[in-house]
Amino acid sequence: MGAPVRFNFSFWIKTVQAATLAVAVCFSIGATDASSRYNDLNHRLMCTCGCAEILGECNHVGCPNSAGELTELRTGIAAGNGDKEILDSFVAKYGATVLAAPTTHGFDLVAWIAPFAVFAAALLGTILLVLRWTNLSVGRTPAVAGDSANEDPADRARREKIRQETGDGGF
């Protein structure tokens, strides 16, 4: 095994930039194909009968609401209304729960931001932790786990057995 990999700051900056760009692309895009507009919109709405299913996927026998909602949707599209206008009309009629996902304004925005904020914070925390633990090891003799002098011999033997069982380069 060669020399340990050193922390290359510019490499990581570029990697983070690339990852951020990829994530930004992922979330700035949407299914806006005009030919699938009806399909797209009926997947952004819920059936209101209480079945908790996406409108475009609700097909339980005898559903009292989905056919009517789909007809309203077709009518809205045929009338040349925009997506926002159609969705707003559904919200006005059925309430905010008719939308299959929170909107991106007001308190609803928190629903979208929180996961990424938590992910970013956790990622940063993990990177800092790894760096800290790596720095703590500088100057130490490369060691196996629990190599303290006062470690229980039984523990040491067990750990060695685990190392053998799992393979040094594997699990």
Binding site: M1, G2, P4, S137, E165, G167
Partner: protein
């Protein structure tokens, strides 16, 4: 039988109470060394025996309920509500978990069964098992209290006893429903055991990491049950609900997925503790969280906090679970604060790029995924609380937020095993990553060539983009794992003269844990390929008169008739469809619609023709009331079969990882007489 069942539950409650109190007292006496009138060891043993007797009592109660179902004892409200005379025998078993009270009894019985095994095997480590058994008794006490006071399964029906019952929910009258809930419950309940060991080990300041070794089999088996339970539920949703999908991000689905994620994180990070003595506190909290999430799942299922398609199981016992979760959390926090010095770890990494750091990132992603799902599940409640406005957090939100995280996790699935422990070098990175990266980019090119393009008519297509990324990463990960197998098998092959297949088999047997893990990762990749196929789902819906046709993909479906059938349980209507491909008749499909007599509820039975490329999935939606003609909805769902195949691989890998490895000395080696066998074949360090 109702009186017998109720009595058995009261006895079980009393035994659990004794187990908890006597066990706790005995452990306290042992810990403090105080003199007592009775030997603490004997007292602890009576507690253990009470736990064993408790298993017998709960088993008797479960038997009483099953007996009552089979004998159509409609004097018991639960039986009248969830069964009927014409219900087939297999589904009478399902009645045990089709309602609130029965499923809690199933939970208590499985818990008692786990406890029974735990208490029987106590000689492995008497003191640790005494702690674990006593904590388990506390959990049993809670469920038995709920069963006795809040949701008694043997309550008698008020008024006249009906001649027949209301029948089982039609959604549950499907073969998989006979095994999906018990499997899921085995997973949920099973996490109680590692939780008890972790908490017990912390309470008694158990030295070293032996408790992890003791609980490894428990944790893996439990994880396996939970995994199988989740996938069986997916398959049930696919085959029964008739919407062409298998995962709807329903709160109850999410509830089963969250402990799976934390349990998976635990199974990975625990290796850091085993091998490096690191992350002791983290692992303890992972298993605490997993157990708490199983309770949260039950709370969500039962309390009706969030709207769900699993509404058949709702009731008002949520308060009991909230209080119990509060107590469990308080005990965990208190014990942790009191004993945290015992969990002091030596945290050091020799390199930024190593197996250790990959485990940290693996945990980061798994827990972020868990948070995302918890956040999405609870956000409607939060929104209502904060702004007084309830919103829906459905599939579109999860698809946008969770899929990128899943991609990152898939990426780590491939990268992690390629990194050695301690440190790596640029040379080894180059050696290990060249092939996977080539495979990844080759798949991108092939994908683009066959039409999986992230843009369509100049517009970016999210589904195609994710599918292409998933296929590409899957190709890279699969190449990485297979090259690991080949590298190890090549060494054995050269040393022993065996062919590669035999060498791979021997390699796996010698290190079942490592290579079982790789097989599990292969299963995950196969599943992801199947999931990615959903980007290309198509469907068509049409009213079909006799000899009318619809076309989807390469198939043409012709309606050639309709038929009816009936039995004591339901009436059914079938549409008979001949399926043509390339102008030739291939097979016939008969999607069905049923109406159950006891409940009067309708239900679709989907017809599915599955081949490796796709599923042809046909739903008979009923007849047009104006024309009387059947309405058929056909789906072409690519690669769905890969999901179920991936599960089989994953289960196989877990079973392999559970089998003890054979040492090179005991493994059979047939070598040519002229060869010299090294005493310790150099299999270590796949890199």
């Amino acid at each position: 039988m109702a009186a017998f069942g109720s009595f058995a539950l009261i006895i079980a409650l009393a035994l659990a109470a004794y187990n908890l109190l006597a066990g706790a007292l005995a452990l306290r006496l042992i810990a403090t060394g105080q003199p007592a009138a009775i030997s603490p060891e004997r007292l602890a043993d009576t507690a253990r025996r009470a736990g064993i007797a408790g298993f017998v009592a709960v088993t008797a109660a479960a038997f009483a309920l099953i007996w009552s179902v089979f004998t159509n004892d409609f004097s018991i409200a639960y039986i009248a509500e969830h069964s009927n005379r014409a219900l087939p025998g297999a589904y009478k078993f399902s009645a045990l978990w089709s309602g609130q009270e029965g499923s809690l009894l199933l939970w208590a019985w499985l818990l008692a069964t786990y406890g029974f095994v735990l208490r029987l095997t106590h000689r492995t480590d008497v003191k640790l098992y005494a702690y674990a058994g006593t904590i388990l008794a506390g959990i049993q006490l809670f469920f038995l209290a709920v069963l006795n006071f809040a949701a008694p399964p043997f309550s008698l029906l008020q008024g006249a006893i009906p001649d027949d019952g209301n029948g089982l929910n039609p959604l549950l009258q499907y073969p998989e429903m006979v095994i999906h809930p018990p499997m899921l419950y085995l997973g949920y309940v099973g996490f109680s055991v590692p939780f008890c060991f972790a908490l017990g080990a912390l309470m008694m300041r158990y030295p070293g990491e032996k408790w992890i070794k003791v609980t490894r089999v428990w944790t893996m088996v439990t994880w396996l049950f939970l995994t199988a339970g989740i996938f069986l539920g997916m398959h049930w949703a696919y085959a029964v609900l008739g919407w062409g999908g298998y995962w709807g991000w329903d709160p109850v689905e999410n509830a089963s997925f969250m402990p799976w994620l934390t349990g998976t994180a635990f199974l990975h990070s625990v290796m850091m503790q085993e091998k490096k003595g690191m992350m002791k506190s983290w692992n303890v909290w992972l298993i605490f969280s997993t157990f708490l999430l199983t309770l949260l799942g039950t709370l969500l299922t039962r309390a009706g906090l969030v709207s769900s398609v699993h509404a058949f199981a709702q009731s008002s016992i949520g308060t009991w679970f909230v209080v119990f979760m509060g107590i469990v959390l308080a005990v965990c926090i208190f014990t942790y604060i009191l004993q945290r010095s015992h969990l002091k770890s030596e945290h050091h990494l020799e390199s930024l790029v190593s197996r250790e750091s990959s485990f940290l990132f693996n945990n980061l992603v798994l827990l972020t995924a868990c948070f995302v799902i918890l956040w999405g599940t609870l956000f409607p409640i939060l929104s209502e609380y904060v702004v007084g406005n309830k919103v829906t957090v459905g599939a579109p939100w999860y698809n946008r937020v969770a899929i990128p995280i899943g991609m990152f996790l898939l990426f780590l699935t491939g990268v992690g095993p390629l990194l050695p422990w301690r440190a790596t070098s640029l040379k080894s990175i180059r050696r290990n990553f060249v092939l996977p990266v080539i495979a990844l980019w080759a798949m991108v090119i092939v994908g683009l060539a066959v039409g999986i393009r992230p843009w369509k008519d100049g517009v970016f297509d999210t589904g195609n983009f994710y599918a292409l990324v998933a296929f590409a990463i899957s190709a890279g990960v699969m190449t990485a794992i297979l090259s690991e197998f080949l590298r190890g098998a090549g060494v054995i092959s050269r040393q022993t003269g065996r062919n590669l297949v035999a060498a791979t088999w021997l390699l796996t047997r010698r290190n079942t844990r490592r290579y079982g893990g790789y097989i599990i990762h292969i299963g995950v990749v196969v599943i992801v390929i199947g999931l990615a196929g959903s980007a290309f789902n198509r469907n068509v819906e049409s009213e079909l008169g006799l000899h009318d046709k619809i076309t989807i993909g390469p198939y043409t479906l012709e309606q050639v008739g309709a038929t009816q059938d009936s039995n004591l349980n339901y009436n059914s209507e079938y549409a008979v469809l001949d399926v043509y491909k390339g102008g030739k008749k291939q097979f016939q499909m008969t999607p069905e619609k049923r109406e159950y007599l006891a409940s009067g509820q309708p239900q679709t039975m989907v017809a599915i023709h599955s081949v490796p490329e796709w599923d042809l999935y046909v739903v008979y939606e009923g007849t047009n009331p104006d024309t009387g003609q059947p309405i058929i909805k056909a789906f072409l769902n690519p690669l769905v079969g890969w999901i179920w195949a991936g599960l089989v691989v994953l289960v196989f890998g877990t079973l392999v990882a559970l089998v003890p490895s054979v040492s090179p000395a005991t493994a059979s080696l047939r070598v040519p007489a002229t060869r010299t066998i090294p005493t310790e074949p150099a299999l270590k360090g796949g890199v």
